[in-house]
Every structure is written in C-alpha cells, then in structure tokens.
Symmetry: C2
Subunit: 452 residues, 2 copies
Amino acid sequence: MNDYLDNSNKQMKLALQLVSGYGGEFQSWRLSDSNERAYTDVRYYVELAKIAEQGKIHTLFIADTPSFGGAGGGTDISTRTPAFPLEPMVMLSAVAYATQKIGLVATFSTTYNLPYNLARQLKTLDTLSGGRVGWNAVTTSSPQTAYNFGNKPLPDTTTRYEMAHEMVEAVQTLWGTFGEHAYITDKATGVFAEMSQIQPANFVGKHYQVKGALPIPATPQGQPPIFQADPSPEGVELAGKFASGVYANPFSIEEARAYRNRLKQSAMKYGRNPNEINMFSGFMFTIGKTYEEALARRHQLLDFMSDDEFYGQIRYLSAMIGVNLMNLDINAPLPKHLQAQAMPHPHDPRSPRAVELIKQGLSPKDVLANGVINYHPVVVGTAEDVANFMEKWFKAGATDGFSLAPDSQQGVRDFVEQVVPILQQRGIFHTDYEGDTLREHLGVPYQYGVRK
Amino acid sequence: MNDYLDNSNKQMKLALQLVSGYGGEFQSWRLSDSNERAYTDVRYYVELAKIAEQGKIHTLFIADTPSFGGAGGGTDISTRTPAFPLEPMVMLSAVAYATQKIGLVATFSTTYNLPYNLARQLKTLDTLSGGRVGWNAVTTSSPQTAYNFGNKPLPDTTTRYEMAHEMVEAVQTLWGTFGEHAYITDKATGVFAEMSQIQPANFVGKHYQVKGALPIPATPQGQPPIFQADPSPEGVELAGKFASGVYANPFSIEEARAYRNRLKQSAMKYGRNPNEINMFSGFMFTIGKTYEEALARRHQLLDFMSDDEFYGQIRYLSAMIGVNLMNLDINAPLPKHLQAQAMPHPHDPRSPRAVELIKQGLSPKDVLANGVINYHPVVVGTAEDVANFMEKWFKAGATDGFSLAPDSQQGVRDFVEQVVPILQQRGIFHTDYEGDTLREHLGVPYQYGVRK
C-alpha cells in the first residue's frame, strides 16, 4: 500500500449529508420521530447541525442541483421527500449563524452560475461563518436542468469541464483581489483599507470573463476550500488540481481504495501533497439496539412505499441477483436451488452484497431492508456494527473519511450519541475540532487567491 | 390633493438602510461609539436589526450593486467605508434567523442574475424568514459593473428595462410553479406533495427562458413583494406594474409629492389600487440632546475627512451657492454682501437648502455639517426636530414613509429610543407590527405567481 493510503496513524474525517432535512431515506418523513415539515423549517436544519457539532462531525455536506431534482428535472415527490434541500447558500447562512465550529459545504454549479455573484456569495458566507465554508464545484450534467437557464442544450462534457476549470479559477482570482492584509480599520490613523493591495481580477477565459475586484477581505481561512464529486476522468483531473475534499460513492473497499489512489495521484500530478485531498465515501445506516430492531425500522420504511414503488424495488432486486422474485414469497428465504442460482449483475456494484444476503437465507424483503438498492453502502444493525464497518474501511486505506447519510433525523442523533463515542474510543475519530475553520478541521493548508 | 395622497388617516411606513453596517456617513466608523469591523461582522448587522425591530421599523433595506461599488466600479475606501454591505442574500439569511418580525428588503439586479437561481434564493429566504422578504428589482446601470459579468458592454436602457420586466415575470412565474396548496406532508395518508398542482414555468421571453418548476412551497406571504428605486420614466413604469414599495430620493416636499403622484398614477394605469404602492423617501439625520451637540458630532465627522476630501466638499458647496469659498474663512459667516450674492445652482436640488443656511449666517463648515451635500435630506438636531421634519413631509402628502439612513450605528439606537416614541405619540407611526409578514406590515395584498 502506498504511504499516502496508509491510515494507521490517521483519524477519519466525517461529513454529514443533510439531504432535504429528513435523512437519506425518502420515506423517513413518515416516521413518528420525524418532523414532516423539516424541508421548509430552517430551525430543524439548525437542530441537526447542532447535534452534528456536538458529535464533532467535521462538516455538513449539501448535495444540490438547480432544478426540481432528479435526472428528469421533475422528481415525483407525491409520497417521497425531495433529494435536495432549499437553496443551500441561503439555508447555510442561517445554520452558520446558529453554530460555531462545524464546516458548511455545498454544491454550486460551475455551469449555471455567474462567477462574480458566486464568488461574492461564497466569500460572504465564509466571512459570516468565520471561515467554515467549502464549495463543492461540480458541473451540471442533467440535460433537463439546462433549460432552467435559457433555451440552450447542456454543453458537452469537454465544454462543461473547460467551464469548470475556468469557473474555479475565476472565483479564486476574485477571492484574492482584496489583498490579504488590506483590511486595516485603524480608527487612530483613519485608514480603513489599503487600496494599493486591492487589485482588479482581470480574468479572461474562453467562457468566463471578470474584470473588477471583490470588496471582501480575507476570511479566517483565507477563502473556502474546493470540493469535487464526479468520478469521471475529467472529475478526477479537476479534483487533483483544486480539491481538498472529494465526495465518492464506492460500494466496496477495493473500489474505494483504487479511486482514492487515483485522486491522490491526480493531486500529486499538480504538485500537491496527497494528504491535502480527502476522500469522503458515502455511507448510510440504520441503528437499533439490536439488528432485529434496526431491521424492523427498515421494514417500516419499506411499508411506507406505494405498491408500485415497492414492487419496482423487487423487480430491480431480481435483476441484481439474476432470479425473478415476482412470483415468490418475498417474506421467506428463497428455495435452496434458487439461492444457488443467484449471481451478481456485472454492471451493478451493489449486486454482490445482495447475492451474499440472499445466499445467507434472508427473505427478499429483508434483503431490501438491508438497503442493497441504496445509493451508498448501508449498515443495518447496532452502533457497534456501524463503527465496525467504518473502522474496517478506514484501516484498509479505502477512504479518508465518510459522507454520512443517516436514514432519518433520528439517525443523526443515534450516530452522534452511539457511534461517535465508539470511534473516539478506538482512536480513529477526533475528540474535538482541530481549530475554528474548515481548513483547520481537515488539515488543509491556508490558501488565498489562486494557487501559485 | 388627490385622495390617495391624503395621509390624514394613515400612518407612515419606515425602512432602515443598513448601508455597510456603519450608517449613512462614510466616516462614522471612526466614532468612538462605532464598531470599526461592522462591515464583516454579521453579529453587528443582527444587533442593528434587533434594535430596529424593537422600534417596530417595518423593514430593513439594503441597497446593493454587484461590484466594488461606486459608479466607477472601484470606490476608494482608503479612509471611507464601502457604500454596500457584504452580499445581501447571504447576510440577510443570518439576520432573518435572528429576528422575528422585521422585513428584509434588498436590491438584486435584474440585469446580472440568472432567473432560476434568483427566484430560488429569494423564495428560500422568504421561507426561512417566515414571509418577510422583499426584492428591490433594479437594473444595473454602471457601465463598469457590466465587465464583472463578461466581456460585453452594459445593455442600453431600453434593453435593460425589457430584461427587468422579463426578469420579474420569470421570477414570479417560478414562484407560482409549486401550487399554493401542494405541500401536504400528511403522515397518515402518506401524501407529501400534490404533484398535479406543481407545473413547469415554461417562461419564454426575449432575454430569459426558464422551463422547470421551483421546488419550494408557498411562504406565509405567498411570495416576496417587489420594490423599485429608479425615478426614470422606465423605472416608474416598472414600479407601477409590479412594485409594492419604491425607494425615492426627493429633496423637497413638492418634488416628493409630484413623484408620489406619478407612482400612484402608474399603479392605477396597471389596474392596481394606488395604496398598494408605498413610497419611501430617503432621509438622514444626526441626533443630539441639542442642535449644538448634534452639530458637534457632524463636525467630528468632517474632521475625519482628509484635506483633499474636505476641500473637495468646500469646492462643491461653492458651486452649489455660486460663491467661491476657497479663500474665505470657512469657520465664520460669509460677509453680508456675499451672503446676498448666494443663489442656488439650478441643477442641484440640494442647493436651496445650502443657500438658506448661508443666508442665515452659518459658516460654510456649519453648512456642510448640516449635511447639504448628502444624498438625502438631512436633519441635524434633536429627536423632536427629526420627528417634526418627518411629520411635516408626511402630513403634506409627500410620501408614504421614509427610508432612514442614520449617520452611524449610534444613530439607529438614537432614532429607536428617541424619535420612534414621539412619532407614536403623535399617532403617525404604528405601535406594533400589523402581522408576521412584510406584506401584512405594509398593507400589501397577498400574491402568488404572476398577477392575474
């Protein structure tokens, strides 16, 4: 294992995905312990953020897209919650005001923003939060979303990545225009700012041009660090050049470690220290006092699904394991000969886990309840089980940390109260924040303007 | 006087301009009672907002421009504070979180924004604040600012106003896409949202096109009301069609009343009730226990100016009154024959006041200290003097209210503690908020989507 993948002397870094305020399961709003109006209730986002802060979670992470959500641009939310919260720049400002330490990272499109406005809002948020903001700089890839921004189709991948590199550079250039030591405010001498240290951006790109300066002084962390989330070669390139954090969606230790290696290599290619780029692997869980209690909670979520949705999942599971489940008893283990037939679908990385559980004799419904179709690996079990999974991945050098998507609002509390103490006891998670800024929490060096 | 200009049975409406956190005088950051880092200190904006809320001020008002500020795109802030605060969408979200009642109105350009992002942010802020947001929808008119948004010159006035009408319509259309009663969240039936009531925007303009829906339910006031601030014929047209509030800069009662009449006429032309459009006249003041104490405070501010800046003001005053003051004793009354020569400059509406004070025998420096070159009318005097000015304008039907720019942070406190009680005692200012939303405070009818 390469040195930079070795985690023996490291501690894991954790991000909490707030999703739309309900947690990672889109039916969890119906649980008795859920606030069903969390989506529009900023005080609830704040409550979750404060709980996460008590648990020393490094940062919140808000995935976002400027549309109604979903690849089709119009998610059906008749029975499920949205995949994204209210606009994150605005929402996080209120959260920043109500918290002290936790990082605040959100997605803002490199395709559908104006660099001056984006740079100004992000640096304002970084100022107001005392230097706790990070920008997940991703290209918008949904063709439908393009039409929310004019009657023009989505640019092709090459163009979108050209735009992404330019957007990050334009924004960082703007951030550096107000000299690091230009904010004087000396009542005695009457000097408010040192104008000679404030210079126009004069950024001229193929897609973006920005002339003026940004009237915002350096924040306690200089400026927000960059995050990335696209595992394509173009995304890895962008991450290697700019990113301090990467949100990843691997389903196995091997897949994760290989991806982590690619990210670190990409950073080194751009003359950076591989430790400066942190991979956060998406991870979901449902916690109970016992496995049975956790599984019962998952059954409740499955039972909230409409028949259409539920049998859609059974059909999908059939494809994953190569066995048609539609006419079988979904509450009983498969007959032995069908268990033997089950084999993972080669194009779905979640299939091996589904087959494994089928062969253990779990009923199809129990296999679903174990979250095999979720968009991240899932642990359904005790706090100990959750901690064990995380330790195993971390010790194996698969990841720098995790991007947590608890099943529900209660899942956030459960994680902080039950899992965090175990991780701390095992020495693989910090017992306090490293400083006051996101860069300090993550061990990412101070930066101002573009990297020299 | 037209009925709709008659204020005998009305109460005035008040907005507080936060400017950059220091008040309306750009030297006030040096006063001993000022927080010199207010510009970057959100807790200070919050403190001022809370004081204003105690005083039942209807709304905060943030003038803004997406540039370093100033017509030239690069204000010199070596000794003066900026004219605008940090980015207002982000800043106001924190203020919204920390307050309960006060309105939150800010400028967002109709020229340099993307409609989907702007609509989403404004409605998010309106959601988080419980329906207290207003949008000052103005075109960007600075040629330099244009180059912060690409290598293209500022569009001409006609085009910018076409864009402004389209931008407001696109944003209001988006606000209406998520049906007013579509947010169900019924745990018992499992219905989260009524999808049949959520419809795409399908807005097709010449300058802006937006296809999708906005995933945000109606706020307690439906959606933010529109404000306007440009007194040009195009601005009055835009205001008449859309605005519930207009920020105005008249220097005399006659000028104000005529403008107010034009605004109400423009609203009626669009089939609206003239009472739905509220004119807020910009107004500045410095309060002391006596006139002499207030004047001394203004002298302190003048003394904070560099010689260049101060003599620039003397030169400007010379032009306003038609008498060259450069070689005279600026601390003594003008010789009688020069007092007699003084006459107002025909193109500066502030000149009559300057001439009046010169003829009263005030020294040039005292005339300046009375704020004759300020961008709004100024009262330097006691709380009673300030209240008298406001009552006189209001009773004369000159305005629906005022957009207050106190000299300094202390000026906000002084106004709330000393002037508000006088206005309330005289029955011309409310003693409590009318409801919980900005529309309720202003008596503006509920609206959702575009006006039918």
